[in-house]
Each structure stands twice: as structure tokens, then as C-alpha cells.
Symmetry: C2
Subunit: 316 residues, 2 copies
């Protein structure tokens, strides 16, 4: 990356390209090491299910956001990796529980059997519980930051993003939107309702990942956190719109899981509300808003910007 640094699109994608080319797999090794740390005679089947859940590949989007936003704040090394690992455990636990027969009842995830198919339902429930719990062990670890206050701030932010006011609340709203609990529990099906689900179910963890760089600073940085938060909100929304478009364009081979499910379940999506063209226009607008939020960081934010560009056209 020698020479002029005028941020052309090609150069913008460098950090993300490096991540895809090798960084994500290096992170996987780290995550595996952290998962296997600690003493205790662990039930082998439970450990195997946790590994299956966490190490099935994936883009590792959230870890990339944590590591990039931390680097932008001048923080590199073990701390961001540890935060990223904790967050990824929460993300993966949520997929395990979401896939359960009583939830979305998915047999496949990323081209592999889901945990309850590869093992069994009880093991999947407990593997999810164990991953959620170990995430807090990882986040409270001294390697996150020498500052206890920083670690506590991250523990609190992760719990809020993951819990009843964040991801879990969003999963519940999502099921309610499908009509699962009857018409009385069904939330408003307009754009506000879809946004309420998205901002919690998938948005909260992405927002946390983007904010992590600011949270890792010993004294915090409200301005930085605010900008990263706006970026994270835009990115989360952009991801959901793109997911809906992929689902609409429907190709179960490239998506790696069954597609077209949301519309058959009668649930409002960005496509059903805006139409495919409307959703594409919305995706462009949200992408632009995300880039705008990054403007104060200048060329330093190229890695985060690349994620928005990548998302616009991704096929899975």
C-alpha cells in the first residue's frame, strides 16, 4: 500500500480484502483457541457442538468491524481480538437457537447441518447457552483492556445489544410478526415494524461491533462513538435490505440456506413493502448515509466503507 493514498475504490477495499483473504481465518484460529481455554473436564459432545456452531466459517463481519473500528482509534492487538471473539460467540449462539425446530426450524446453515441436526436439540440448546455465557467470560478477561472500567463498559454494552432490548427482543418481535403468537401479538406490519425488528434482531450486534472501537478507549469518546453508531445502524439496515433482496432474487445454492421463506410466512419485508426496485433505492440511500457517518474519519475509514460497498452487491 505504498504511494499515494487518495482513496480510490480499489484501495478502499484493501483492509476488507485482506480480511477475506486471510484475516478472517486467522481470527477463526484465535477464536478456537479461546473456546478451548480454561481447565475443567468439559463434556466432549458439548464442546464439539460449540465448535460446530462457531467454526462453521462465515464472513466474520462483526469481528472485522470490531478490529477495524479499534484500529481507527489506535488500538490494535489482543484487546480487539478478544472483543471480537466474545461478540462472535453471541452471534453464533443466536443462530443456533434461531435454527431450533421451535424457532425457525432450519436444517442447514452455511451449507452445513445446523447444530440440532448435526447433534440433537438438547445439545443445541445447551451449546447456545454455553456460547452466550462464555462470551461474558471472554469480555471480562484482562486481555480485553488493562482498564476494568473499559471491560465493564463492554460487558454492559454487549449484554444490552444481545438481550431483551436488543437481539433477543428482536427475535421475539420477528416471530410475532410471522403471526406465530396470533393476531393479538402481531406487531404493526408497516415499515416502522420492519425497522423495529431489524434494528434489534440483527442491527444491535452490528451496531455494537462498530461502536467497539470507541468503547475500547480508556476515557471513551462520545463523538467517535456517535459517528460509529450511525455507521453501524446504517450498515445493519443495509445488510437487512440486501438480505431481503438476496432472498427475493432467490437462489438457494448461492445463499447456502433455504430462501423465499419470509414471504411465504406472510411477514412484511423491505421487498413486500417497497418492491424490489424501491428496496434497491433504499439500499443506496442507506449506504450513502453510512458513508456520510464515516466522513469525519477520512481515509482511516476505508475498511469500514468497503463493507458498505461490498454489501451493496453481495450475493450471499
Amino acid at each position: 500500500m505504498a504511494g499515494n493514498s487518495d482513496s480510490g475504490q480499489g484501495e478502499e477495499e484493501t483492509a476488507l480484502d485482506l480480511w477475506v483473504a486471510g484475516g478472517a481465518r486467522a481470527f477463526d484460529s484465535r477464536l478456537e483457541t479461546l473456546l478451548l481455554e480454561g481447565a475443567g473436564l468439559r463434556p466432549p459432545r458439548l464442546v464439539a457442538a460449540m465448535r460446530h456452531a462457531v467454526l462453521a466459517g462465515g464472513k466474520r463481519l462483526r469481528p472485522f468491524l470490531v478490529i477495524e473500528s479499534a484500529r481507527m482509534a489506535g488500538i490494535v492487538g489482543e484487546g480487539p481480538l478478544q472483543v471480537a471473539a466474545a461478540l462472535e460467540c453471541v452471534h453464533c449462539y443466536s443462530l443456533v437457537h434461531d435454527d431450533l425446530p421451535a424457532m425457525d426450524n432450519d436444517d442447514m446453515r452455511r451449507g452445513q447441518p445446523t447444530v440440532h441436526r448435526a447433534y440433537d436439540e438438547a445439545t443445541a440448546i445447551l451449546a447456545g447457552d454455553a456460547l452466550l455465557t462464555i462470551a461474558f467470560t471472554m469480555m471480562a478477561d484482562h486481555r480485553v483492556s488493562p482498564s476494568a472500567a473499559v471491560r465493564l463498559r463492554l460487558v454492559t454494552a454487549l449484554a444490552e445489544a444481545s438481550g431483551v432490548d436488543g437481539m433477543v427482543g428482536g427475535q421475539m418481535l420477528d416471530l410475532a410478526a410471522e403471526g406465530r403468537f396470533g393476531a393479538k401479538e402481531q406487531p404493526e406490519q408497516g415499515i416502522a415494524g420492519v425497522l423495529a425488528i431489524q434494528s434489534r434482531k440483527t442491527g444491535a450486534l452490528i451496531r455494537f461491533a462498530a461502536e467497539a472501537g470507541a468503547l475500547l478507549l480508556p476515557r471513551g469518546d462520545a463523538k467517535r462513538r456517535g459517528a460509529l453508531r450511525r455507521y453501524g445502524e446504517a450498515l445493519g439496515l443495509a445488510f437487512q435490505i440486501r438480505d431481503d433482496l438476496i432472498d427475493h432474487e432467490g437462489d438457494s445454492l448461492t445463499a447456502g440456506k433455504a430462501t423465499g421463506k419470509d414471504t411465504t410466512a406472510g411477514k412484511a419485508t423491505f421487498i413486500s413493502l417497497l418492491g424490489a426496485d424501491g428496496a434497491r433505492r433504499q439500499l443506496d440511500a442507506v449506504t450513502a448515509a453510512g458513508l456520510e457517518a464515516l466522513a469525519p474519519f477520512g481515509a482511516e475509514a476505508r475498511g469500514l466503507a468497503a463493507v458498505l460497498h461490498f454489501n451493496r452487491t453481495r450475493q450471499s
Copy 2:
């Protein structure tokens, strides 16, 4: 409690009597308040299921241990209550997931429908997840202690007691012992195997509760923590033996749930290994060991001692 303090059995039970007479219900109000704290438009059905799980009554044994062990260390007020609430959320989440059809498949708990019966399986899975997550929000809260280091220590200890090396690992071992995953996964069925399950599945949280008083001290107190830990280990074991005896003496009315299940599932218990009389003798020995661990605290430990005495003869 004026006058002479020579610890007769009657006086020993005072703190526990007060807890049973009103303290536990006062704690329930506090727990309810904490559960409902925080902004956000929470899905009503999820909140109702969380309340159902947490506020179904119960002895509140673990909160009593937290509050008593903290009082013995000179710590009273909001801190121990907050720790107790966090711990009780973890305990209750574990019951919700344990009761699920794919786990123990229990319809009733404390004389009431289990969460998945009162609501549905998806709601029960998510309510459990939300309770586990909110426990960490509560534990990281500034009201636990002004010291960030103390709060972090408690977050770490709670995660370890609850996770793959603690409670969740124990739940998994328990299912494996039933032969759920086939003979290959079935652990050794002797006394060591039963102890391995007990010390994790139910023992770890009881041990944490007993240790909490020492953990709340700003500089820690290894000697105090060690004694409380030995007490907690003994109490956890004594509880399990008493549970097995209640199950054996079998009266589904007083126990409030189906009994005789463990033996029909072919799983080793203290009764199947030691016989009822042997189990009673073991209970007496473990009770004595727990009292012995409390000796250094003198009369200050009457409340904790009363739990051991109460347990010896409880019927439910």
C-alpha cells in the same frame, strides 16, 4: 435478638426464618423492579414469560446465601441485592431451558405450568436467553459495587459458575448420564460420576452464592472465600442428596413436580448408589462438613448454618 448470643438451634434459625417470613418476598419485589427497568419497547409476551419464569415463588435459597454471606463481610444494602437478583435470573433461566421438551420435558414447576406450557417453546427459549443476558447487565451495574474491579470479578465468577465448566456443562453431563446420547457418551455411573454432575449442574451456582460475600469485598479475602466455598460445596451436595431422598420418598403433592423420574430413567443417584440409609448418613456427614467450614465465623454464620439444618429435613 437482644440478650445472650450463645447459638442455640432456635436462635440459629432466626435469619433464615426472617427470610422465609418476609425477606424472600421483599426480594421478589426488588427482582421484579430490576426486571422491568430500562427503556425500550419490549415485546410484552417475552416480558410476561420472563416474569413467569422468575416470579413463580420458590425458596430463593441462592439470594439468601448471597445476602447472608455479604452481611457477614459487613456488606449490606443494594449491592448484595443486585448480585442476588442477577444470580436468581441465571438460576431461573436454567430451569426454563431444563424444562423444555427437548430437555427434561416437564409440564409443571413449583405447582405452575412451565414457561413453554404457559406460553410456547420459542418464547421459553428466548425468555431463558433474555434472563441469562440480563443477569450480566445486573451484575455489571454500578449498584453492585462502586468498584469496577469488584463488578468484573463477579461477572467472571458468575459466567464461570454458569457456563461450560459449571452449570451448563453439568446439565449436559446429566443428560449424558441418562444415556441420552448413547452408551459411548455416557459417563461413569459411580459416585464420582454423580458428584461430577452435581458439583456442576446445581453445585456451581450455590457455591457462587456462598462465595459472593467474599467477592464483594473490594480487596477480596482469599481465606474467607475459601471457607465460604467449602461451605457452598457442602451445601450444594447436601441439597442434592436431600433432593434424591425426597424423590425416593416420593410424594408428588409436596414436591410440586413429578417424582421418581431419575430412577426410572436408569440414572445413578445417591439413593441407587448408597441406598436410602446410606444417603441419609452421607447427608449427615456432608452437613457436618458444611458446619465445620463455617466454624471460623462463629455466631456470625448462624444464618448460613440454618440452611444446612433446614435442608436435612425439608420435604420439598
